[in-house]
Symmetry: C2
Subunit: 346 residues, 2 copies
Amino acid sequence: MRIGIVCPVWFPVPPEAYGGTERVVALLADGLVDSGHEVTLFASGDSQSRARLESAFHTAPSEWIGHTYWEMQHALLAFGRSRDFDVLHDHTGMLGLAFGGLVETPFCHTVHGPLDGQPGRLYEQILELASNAKLISISMNQRKPKPHLPWVANCPNALDLSMFPFRRKAGGEYLVFLGRMSPDKGAHRALAVALETGLPLKIAAKCREPLEIRYFDEFIRPHLGGSIEYVGEVGHADKVELLMGARALISPIDWEEPFGLMMIEAMACGTPVISTRRGAVSEIVEHGKTGVVVDNYRDMEEPSVLELADSLDPVVIREHVEANFSPEIMVANYVAAYEATIDASG
Amino acid sequence: MRIGIVCPVWFPVPPEAYGGTERVVALLADGLVDSGHEVTLFASGDSQSRARLESAFHTAPSEWIGHTYWEMQHALLAFGRSRDFDVLHDHTGMLGLAFGGLVETPFCHTVHGPLDGQPGRLYEQILELASNAKLISISMNQRKPKPHLPWVANCPNALDLSMFPFRRKAGGEYLVFLGRMSPDKGAHRALAVALETGLPLKIAAKCREPLEIRYFDEFIRPHLGGSIEYVGEVGHADKVELLMGARALISPIDWEEPFGLMMIEAMACGTPVISTRRGAVSEIVEHGKTGVVVDNYRDMEEPSVLELADSLDPVVIREHVEANFSPEIMVANYVAAYEATIDASG
């Protein structure tokens, strides 16, 4: 199949640090090439891919993130070549989705964000105009606010398992929190649980934007020291080290997280996940097998929760990721999604 | 006719200070209503219009200027209602032009910027995708880099002449410069001419963006004092006062200015224009009748230039604007453009 993949343009693919979408797109493009498809990846020139790379910019214009003029140049390069492809697959967001309505090539778009509130309404409005576009979800829960949109497939995210060696460290005592400094993700709730139970906590999180820094200063910084440690935004190697040595990943999210890459990263290391039952959690973590899923984050303080997490078999946890979130499965899911898109457009 | 007009969303319509596009759109919408058309104006909620106002935002999101997410919400409101109109007329820029390709309603777009360089290439690429869109120029010169685009009409900008009382002040000695602090517009060239000839100069210009401030600090500020005065960014009343009292408007532009609203503003006050022959100048200023047009800004230092400017009849200058740049003419031009758009789409 001749496949054109349009990535967000703001960061290189794969990204150097935080950036779940870019990491998944990198894995998908490489995997499709390995399966014998002819893949063109539209991304900034500082990206690395086994696909043919086409770039509107030599380096990712990160400093212009969100600006129409820059996104437009990237989108025009990709959508202007739509006739070269059997299917065009967009990841950029609303602009790419709208541009999908301008091409005759079968077109699908992966929704990477949540669809509740204003984004969901905007998606609905764009799809009224771009009525040929097909949508791909990354979890079934993500579809809940808008079940009537033109969904064509569900393609959960995946991990490059070769980058997550299964080498569990014995005797890990600390909980680890991984994500962004945002109330949604809940570093402050992880902190409350750690303070209440006396368990050590290591917080690894992106903290760059003004709102993230304000949240950190108000809710996290005052409690640092002693058994609560902030380790900053971690690169891949440090992240794997952190996860391999942790007693559990603590994920007290309070939003409709559409997927939750950090959960499969932890499980790939054999580390159980303790999470609230929000977003796609129930599709990712198997309660009593790969982690503990609770209704309220306060429940995480119950001794039975940690006991259950401690009792889980790391080998089983790892195998759950291999069986459900491998690149091979994601690539096969996407190939089926492309075929469905082409069928629906024919 | 049922007409939908989509304005840029970043400033209210009309704008409080600088903002040629928003001022022209305000005049056009009111004029179309006065001619008996059913007009809906899509602009921020703090706008004023005799047209029916539809707003995605209560106040103009100026602090987010250029961001896709905000522009998208505004565009979706307008283009989502395209079926309510006989013609949809966009002024927003590249995003609006692309959205024009998503609707079946006859669609035209006024180009407000220049088409040389990268913007011209992007327009071309968008029109390959939005192939139903028709373009309107604001001067014939503006089309020169891209004559093959789907032009449907030329509609020069206009002034609300009731806001420019023709009350010429006798004995004005100073030259006036009006515009932005940008090398293109040439405040520094106006300054060089003033210093060389010893004529007093008043500079009224927008100076808000970092680049404008840097240019001002480097090229203008060191020469202030004595006969060179910077009066800041002026509101309407101050602008009219400045123009009424000036000996001439000095406009040493060095770019393909697509129109040049400040020139018709000066002429409406009976003030002659001294300009370089760039952009649309030859379509606006009649050499030897309403101003003096020179090849090189250095020629402005010749005594014969000011002599010719002094000899021009303010009544004739004013009449030139009334005969060519009145709202009635602009409205009639646009109505013809809409009819041509509808014919071409049928």
